[in-house]
Symmetry: C2
Amino acid sequence: MKNYINSLREHNLKATPQRLAIVDALYINGHMNTETLYGLMIQKFSSISLATIYKNINIMIEKNFIQEVKLPHAKSVYELTKTSHSHLLCKKCGAIEDVEINLDVMIENISKTNQFQIDKTDFVLSGNCKNCQ
Amino acid sequence: MKNYINSLREHNLKATPQRLAIVDALYINGHMNTETLYGLMIQKFSSISLATIYKNINIMIEKNFIQEVKLPHAKSVYELTKTSHSHLLCKKCGAIEDVEINLDVMIENISKTNQFQIDKTDFVLSGNCKNCQ
DNA sequence: CTGGGTGCAAAGTATTTGCATGAAC
DNA sequence: GTTCATGCAAATACTTTGCACCCAG
Protein backbone atom coordinates (compact mmCIF):
# COMPACT_ATOMS: atom_id res chain seq x y z
CA MET A 1 0.00 0.00 0.00
CA LYS A 2 1.41 3.29 -1.14
CA ASN A 3 1.31 6.58 0.67
CA TYR A 4 -1.32 8.32 -1.36
CA ILE A 5 -1.73 11.07 1.18
CA ASN A 6 1.42 12.73 -0.02
CA SER A 7 0.85 11.92 -3.68
CA LEU A 8 -2.50 13.64 -3.48
CA ARG A 9 -1.04 16.67 -1.77
CA GLU A 10 1.69 16.92 -4.36
CA HIS A 11 -1.07 17.30 -6.87
CA ASN A 12 -2.75 20.02 -4.80
CA LEU A 13 -5.52 17.73 -3.70
CA LYS A 14 -6.59 17.46 -0.08
CA ALA A 15 -6.31 13.94 1.26
CA THR A 16 -9.85 13.28 2.39
CA PRO A 17 -10.95 9.80 3.39
CA GLN A 18 -13.24 9.58 0.38
CA ARG A 19 -10.49 10.55 -1.98
CA LEU A 20 -8.05 8.13 -0.44
CA ALA A 21 -10.57 5.35 -0.74
CA ILE A 22 -11.14 6.10 -4.41
CA VAL A 23 -7.44 6.15 -5.10
CA ASP A 24 -6.95 2.96 -3.17
CA ALA A 25 -9.74 1.25 -5.11
CA LEU A 26 -8.15 2.28 -8.39
CA TYR A 27 -4.78 1.06 -7.18
CA ILE A 28 -6.18 -2.30 -6.21
CA ASN A 29 -8.50 -2.83 -9.15
CA GLY A 30 -6.47 -1.15 -11.83
CA HIS A 31 -9.42 0.13 -13.85
CA MET A 32 -12.90 1.08 -12.73
CA ASN A 33 -15.88 2.88 -14.18
CA THR A 34 -18.00 5.35 -12.21
CA GLU A 35 -20.64 2.77 -11.49
CA THR A 36 -18.43 0.11 -9.97
CA LEU A 37 -16.42 2.73 -8.17
CA TYR A 38 -19.54 4.14 -6.58
CA GLY A 39 -20.69 0.63 -5.72
CA LEU A 40 -17.47 0.03 -3.85
CA MET A 41 -17.38 3.40 -2.14
CA ILE A 42 -20.94 3.22 -0.87
CA GLN A 43 -19.92 0.14 1.09
CA LYS A 44 -17.23 2.07 2.83
CA PHE A 45 -19.03 5.40 3.18
CA SER A 46 -22.72 4.71 3.38
CA SER A 47 -23.60 8.34 2.72
CA ILE A 48 -21.12 9.10 -0.03
CA SER A 49 -22.67 10.94 -2.92
CA LEU A 50 -22.38 10.11 -6.58
CA ALA A 51 -21.58 13.79 -7.02
CA THR A 52 -18.51 13.28 -4.86
CA ILE A 53 -17.38 10.48 -7.13
CA TYR A 54 -17.81 12.62 -10.21
CA LYS A 55 -16.24 15.69 -8.68
CA ASN A 56 -13.24 13.70 -7.57
CA ILE A 57 -12.81 11.94 -10.86
CA ASN A 58 -12.93 15.24 -12.66
CA ILE A 59 -10.54 17.10 -10.44
CA MET A 60 -8.11 14.20 -10.30
CA ILE A 61 -8.11 14.04 -14.10
CA GLU A 62 -7.54 17.78 -14.20
CA LYS A 63 -4.55 17.44 -11.88
CA ASN A 64 -3.32 14.51 -13.94
CA PHE A 65 -3.53 12.18 -11.00
CA ILE A 66 -5.78 9.75 -12.81
CA GLN A 67 -6.72 9.23 -16.45
CA GLU A 68 -9.79 8.26 -18.35
CA VAL A 69 -9.61 5.28 -20.67
CA LYS A 70 -12.30 5.22 -23.33
CA LEU A 71 -13.24 1.73 -24.39
CA PRO A 72 -15.19 0.51 -27.41
CA HIS A 73 -18.67 -0.69 -26.52
CA ALA A 74 -18.17 -0.06 -22.81
CA LYS A 75 -18.19 2.71 -20.28
CA SER A 76 -15.00 4.61 -19.71
CA VAL A 77 -12.79 3.42 -16.93
CA TYR A 78 -10.31 5.35 -14.82
CA GLU A 79 -6.81 4.44 -13.77
CA LEU A 80 -4.01 6.02 -11.79
CA THR A 81 -1.67 7.96 -14.05
CA LYS A 82 1.41 5.93 -14.83
CA THR A 83 3.87 5.73 -17.69
CA SER A 84 2.30 5.53 -21.11
CA HIS A 85 0.89 2.15 -21.95
CA SER A 86 -1.76 0.44 -24.05
CA HIS A 87 -4.73 -1.70 -23.06
CA LEU A 88 -5.98 -5.15 -23.83
CA LEU A 89 -9.74 -5.48 -23.51
CA CYS A 90 -11.49 -8.82 -23.38
CA LYS A 91 -14.78 -8.56 -25.27
CA LYS A 92 -16.21 -11.48 -23.38
CA CYS A 93 -15.43 -10.93 -19.71
CA GLY A 94 -14.53 -7.26 -19.90
CA ALA A 95 -11.16 -7.71 -18.26
CA ILE A 96 -8.63 -4.98 -18.95
CA GLU A 97 -4.90 -5.53 -18.92
CA ASP A 98 -2.15 -2.99 -19.25
CA VAL A 99 0.43 -3.78 -21.86
CA GLU A 100 3.68 -2.04 -22.66
CA ILE A 101 4.13 -1.52 -26.36
CA ASN A 102 6.98 0.53 -27.63
CA LEU A 103 5.48 2.85 -30.19
CA ASP A 104 8.40 5.25 -30.51
CA VAL A 105 9.60 4.18 -33.93
CA MET A 106 6.08 4.04 -35.31
CA ILE A 107 5.25 7.47 -33.94
CA GLU A 108 8.42 8.86 -35.38
CA ASN A 109 7.49 7.55 -38.81
CA ILE A 110 3.92 8.73 -38.70
CA SER A 111 5.00 12.15 -37.52
CA LYS A 112 7.25 12.52 -40.51
CA THR A 113 4.94 11.01 -43.07
CA ASN A 114 1.90 12.96 -41.97
CA GLN A 115 3.56 16.13 -40.71
CA PHE A 116 1.73 15.61 -37.48
CA GLN A 117 3.39 16.17 -34.12
CA ILE A 118 2.21 13.32 -31.90
CA ASP A 119 2.45 13.55 -28.14
CA LYS A 120 -0.06 11.04 -26.89
CA THR A 121 -1.57 7.72 -27.87
CA ASP A 122 -4.75 5.93 -26.90
CA PHE A 123 -4.49 2.34 -27.95
CA VAL A 124 -6.96 -0.38 -27.07
CA LEU A 125 -6.64 -3.88 -28.48
CA SER A 126 -9.78 -5.96 -28.15
CA GLY A 127 -10.38 -9.66 -28.35
CA ASN A 128 -10.43 -12.60 -26.03
CA CYS A 129 -8.27 -13.01 -23.01
CA LYS A 130 -6.51 -16.20 -22.03
CA ASN A 131 -9.45 -17.46 -19.98
CA CYS A 132 -12.12 -16.63 -22.51
CA GLN A 133 -10.75 -18.29 -25.60
CA MET B 1 -20.81 10.54 -55.00
CA LYS B 2 -21.46 6.91 -54.31
CA ASN B 3 -24.66 5.02 -54.66
CA TYR B 4 -25.56 4.67 -51.04
CA ILE B 5 -29.07 3.53 -51.81
CA ASN B 6 -27.83 0.08 -52.65
CA SER B 7 -25.20 0.01 -49.93
CA LEU B 8 -27.89 0.73 -47.38
CA ARG B 9 -30.16 -1.94 -48.78
CA GLU B 10 -27.38 -4.47 -48.73
CA HIS B 11 -27.19 -3.84 -45.02
CA ASN B 12 -30.96 -4.31 -44.63
CA LEU B 13 -31.58 -0.64 -44.16
CA LYS B 14 -34.26 1.20 -46.06
CA ALA B 15 -32.92 4.10 -48.06
CA THR B 16 -34.89 7.01 -46.66
CA PRO B 17 -33.96 10.57 -47.54
CA GLN B 18 -32.88 11.25 -43.95
CA ARG B 19 -30.66 8.22 -43.89
CA LEU B 20 -29.12 9.04 -47.23
CA ALA B 21 -28.38 12.56 -46.06
CA ILE B 22 -26.68 11.25 -42.92
CA VAL B 23 -24.58 8.84 -44.90
CA ASP B 24 -23.72 11.53 -47.40
CA ALA B 25 -22.68 13.90 -44.64
CA LEU B 26 -20.41 11.25 -43.15
CA TYR B 27 -18.96 10.53 -46.56
CA ILE B 28 -18.21 14.18 -47.18
CA ASN B 29 -17.00 15.11 -43.72
CA GLY B 30 -15.33 11.87 -42.77
CA HIS B 31 -16.11 12.07 -39.07
CA MET B 32 -18.97 13.73 -37.25
CA ASN B 33 -20.44 13.72 -33.78
CA THR B 34 -24.17 13.66 -33.07
CA GLU B 35 -24.30 17.38 -32.50
CA THR B 36 -22.70 18.50 -35.74
CA LEU B 37 -24.56 15.84 -37.64
CA TYR B 38 -27.86 17.07 -36.29
CA GLY B 39 -26.83 20.65 -37.03
CA LEU B 40 -26.26 19.75 -40.64
CA MET B 41 -29.36 17.62 -41.01
CA ILE B 42 -31.69 20.22 -39.57
CA GLN B 43 -30.67 22.50 -42.42
CA LYS B 44 -31.76 19.94 -44.94
CA PHE B 45 -34.81 18.61 -43.10
CA SER B 46 -36.18 21.36 -40.96
CA SER B 47 -38.32 18.97 -38.96
CA ILE B 48 -35.86 16.12 -38.50
CA SER B 49 -35.76 14.83 -34.96
CA LEU B 50 -32.72 14.23 -32.83
CA ALA B 51 -34.30 10.86 -32.11
CA THR B 52 -34.04 10.05 -35.79
CA ILE B 53 -30.34 10.85 -35.70
CA TYR B 54 -29.79 8.61 -32.72
CA LYS B 55 -31.94 5.80 -34.05
CA ASN B 56 -30.13 5.85 -37.34
CA ILE B 57 -26.70 6.01 -35.78
CA ASN B 58 -27.56 3.07 -33.60
CA ILE B 59 -29.06 0.89 -36.26
CA MET B 60 -26.30 1.67 -38.73
CA ILE B 61 -23.71 0.72 -36.13
CA GLU B 62 -25.64 -2.47 -35.46
CA LYS B 63 -25.60 -3.32 -39.17
CA ASN B 64 -21.93 -2.41 -39.32
CA PHE B 65 -22.54 0.30 -41.86
CA ILE B 66 -20.91 2.95 -39.70
CA GLN B 67 -18.64 2.88 -36.68
CA GLU B 68 -18.17 4.88 -33.54
CA VAL B 69 -14.76 6.37 -32.82
CA LYS B 70 -14.17 7.27 -29.21
CA LEU B 71 -11.80 10.17 -28.78
CA PRO B 72 -9.93 11.41 -25.72
CA HIS B 73 -11.39 14.63 -24.32
CA ALA B 74 -14.00 14.89 -27.05
CA LYS B 75 -17.34 13.50 -28.04
CA SER B 76 -17.43 10.33 -30.05
CA VAL B 77 -17.55 10.71 -33.80
CA TYR B 78 -18.98 8.38 -36.40
CA GLU B 79 -17.56 7.29 -39.73
CA LEU B 80 -18.56 5.01 -42.56
CA THR B 81 -17.18 1.52 -42.04
CA LYS B 82 -14.04 1.00 -44.07
CA THR B 83 -10.94 -1.12 -43.78
CA SER B 84 -9.26 -1.00 -40.40
CA HIS B 85 -7.32 2.18 -39.78
CA SER B 86 -6.08 4.44 -37.03
CA HIS B 87 -6.81 8.09 -36.31
CA LEU B 88 -4.80 11.23 -35.87
CA LEU B 89 -6.49 13.79 -33.67
CA CYS B 90 -5.38 17.39 -33.48
CA LYS B 91 -5.74 18.63 -29.91
CA LYS B 92 -5.91 22.21 -31.05
CA CYS B 93 -8.32 22.35 -33.97
CA GLY B 94 -10.00 19.00 -33.45
CA ALA B 95 -9.30 17.77 -36.96
CA ILE B 96 -9.33 14.02 -37.43
CA GLU B 97 -7.34 12.23 -40.09
CA ASP B 98 -7.41 8.60 -41.02
CA VAL B 99 -4.04 6.92 -41.13
CA GLU B 100 -3.09 3.47 -42.28
CA ILE B 101 -0.75 1.78 -39.89
CA ASN B 102 0.16 -1.80 -40.35
CA LEU B 103 -0.19 -3.37 -36.94
CA ASP B 104 -0.09 -7.01 -38.00
CA VAL B 105 3.36 -7.84 -36.71
CA MET B 106 2.78 -6.02 -33.46
CA ILE B 107 -0.54 -7.73 -32.91
CA GLU B 108 1.01 -11.07 -33.64
CA ASN B 109 3.68 -10.47 -31.02
CA ILE B 110 1.30 -9.20 -28.39
CA SER B 111 -1.04 -12.10 -28.96
CA LYS B 112 1.75 -14.54 -28.29
CA THR B 113 3.31 -12.72 -25.40
CA ASN B 114 0.06 -12.08 -23.58
CA GLN B 115 -1.92 -15.14 -24.69
CA PHE B 116 -4.59 -12.77 -25.85
CA GLN B 117 -6.43 -13.27 -29.12
CA ILE B 118 -6.74 -9.81 -30.68
CA ASP B 119 -9.28 -9.11 -33.38
CA LYS B 120 -9.74 -5.37 -33.29
CA THR B 121 -7.79 -2.23 -32.50
CA ASP B 122 -8.79 1.27 -31.54
CA PHE B 123 -5.85 3.56 -31.97
CA VAL B 124 -5.92 7.31 -31.68
CA LEU B 125 -2.75 9.38 -31.86
CA SER B 126 -3.14 12.91 -30.54
CA GLY B 127 -1.08 16.01 -31.01
CA ASN B 128 -0.88 18.90 -33.39
CA CYS B 129 -1.67 18.76 -37.07
CA LYS B 130 0.38 20.42 -39.76
CA ASN B 131 -1.58 23.66 -39.58
CA CYS B 132 -1.58 23.93 -35.81
CA GLN B 133 2.10 23.49 -35.04
C1' DC C 1 -50.33 -3.61 -48.85
C1' DT C 2 -46.67 -4.25 -45.09
C1' DG C 3 -42.80 -3.46 -42.50
C1' DG C 4 -39.98 -0.33 -41.09
C1' DG C 5 -38.83 4.76 -40.42
C1' DT C 6 -40.03 9.39 -38.82
C1' DG C 7 -41.27 12.96 -35.56
C1' DC C 8 -42.93 14.27 -31.37
C1' DA C 9 -43.28 14.02 -26.53
C1' DA C 10 -42.15 11.71 -22.52
C1' DA C 11 -39.15 8.92 -19.94
C1' DG C 12 -34.75 7.33 -18.61
C1' DT C 13 -29.87 7.72 -17.63
C1' DA C 14 -25.73 10.19 -16.86
C1' DT C 15 -23.38 14.08 -15.25
C1' DT C 16 -22.98 18.74 -13.36
C1' DT C 17 -24.07 22.53 -10.36
C1' DG C 18 -25.34 25.40 -6.19
C1' DC C 19 -25.32 25.72 -1.63
C1' DA C 20 -24.98 24.86 3.32
C1' DT C 21 -22.27 22.27 6.32
C1' DG C 22 -18.07 20.13 7.72
C1' DA C 23 -13.28 18.62 7.47
C1' DA C 24 -8.29 19.26 6.02
C1' DC C 25 -4.35 21.73 6.83
C1' DG D 1 -9.13 30.47 10.52
C1' DT D 2 -9.28 29.65 5.64
C1' DT D 3 -9.75 26.87 1.94
C1' DC D 4 -11.55 23.30 -0.10
C1' DA D 5 -14.50 18.83 -0.02
C1' DT D 6 -18.78 16.61 0.96
C1' DG D 7 -23.67 15.52 0.52
C1' DC D 8 -27.96 16.66 -0.86
C1' DA D 9 -31.21 18.32 -4.15
C1' DA D 10 -32.01 20.46 -8.30
C1' DA D 11 -30.66 21.32 -12.83
C1' DT D 12 -28.74 20.10 -17.15
C1' DA D 13 -27.22 17.10 -20.76
C1' DC D 14 -27.53 13.08 -23.28
C1' DT D 15 -29.92 9.15 -25.11
C1' DT D 16 -33.79 6.01 -25.52
C1' DT D 17 -38.59 4.72 -25.85
C1' DG D 18 -43.63 4.62 -27.17
C1' DC D 19 -46.81 5.66 -30.29
C1' DA D 20 -49.41 7.56 -34.20
C1' DC D 21 -48.61 8.53 -38.80
C1' DC D 22 -46.20 7.96 -43.10
C1' DC D 23 -43.23 6.22 -46.76
C1' DA D 24 -40.06 2.74 -49.07
C1' DG D 25 -40.15 -1.40 -51.33
